[in-house]
Point group: C2
């Protein structure tokens, strides 16, 4: 079970080495991209502090840092939308993580009710992308009011 | 051609609306996940400021903000590893973007020489993930010295 992360000593070791040496940003967070292991679909983009990363590695269930609630957040704790981690990848400079996960429960990840948080795309017109959005998921998987009740919405302006 | 982004007025509009209202963080950046359109493989995780996002939308070629060099960076400008944007997605709270791209040139994206920046995974032992890494790409696609010469390495400790 991991307790502490290794120190970053050299660029070569970070890029070409075989030891995890994650970089946490000015807010002590590292971004994590969560994908469905079945088809590589990106489900969400979240953040972890050191403790959330350790919990994810040690329990094999995705834990994040909620920037809006300012606490560790085990995905699915209240909703049942637990994510079982099947693979963890790290990038070249070790400042970003990928979780490949198996979805539990309703097979969804997004608090708005869709499977993926990325349920909209930019439309294309006359040779360039515009700021008009089109929904790529046509229906919600679940009604967020049923699952989350009156819990505060994590989306902030 | 987009010149300015729409203002964020309400959580409902941000989550369920059909207008792009991106949120830039305290450093005026938004994270972007770049994937290979062919198989959804995640290639890199970068950042854009408003200008890089506008340039990406208007030119259909991926532009980022280099946090180490502190400048706009058109991917492939020196290396030829240009990324043609085939789809742009935005997430529920509009603070993260996906580029689905077609790779040009050497069919690679990582400055270390691999196709994807995510060329290592955490090994698994006795029921949990460890801090020992395993390479998932066995060979580099190109020699970074040949492509980048003596340009400074963007990886920072």
């Amino acid at each position: 079970m991991i307790k502490e992360f290794d120190k970053r000593n050299s660029v070569e070791e970070v890029e070409e080495g075989k030891i995890l040496q994650p970089k946490f940003d000015q807010n002590n967070l590292i971004p994590v991209i969560t994908v469905d292991q079945i088809n590589n679909e990106i489900l969400m983009h979240g953040y972890m502090n050191q403790e959330a990363f350790r919990l994810s590695m040690n329990t094999k269930e995705a834990h994040y840092w909620s920037r809006s609630r300012k606490c560790i957040w085990k995905k699915g704790e209240t909703s049942g939308l637990i994510q079982k981690i099947k693979e963890i990848k790290i990038d070249d400079d070790q400042d970003c993580v990928i979780f490949e996960v198996e979805l539990c429960g309703l097979q969804a990840s997004c608090h708005v009710g869709y499977k993926s948080c990325f349920y909209r795309k930019l439309t294309f017109r006359e040779g360039h992308y515009t700021d008009k959005l089109e929904f790529t998921e046509k229906e919600k998987v679940f009604d967020p009011k049923e699952i989350y009740g009156n819990a505060p919405n994590p989306t902030k302006l």
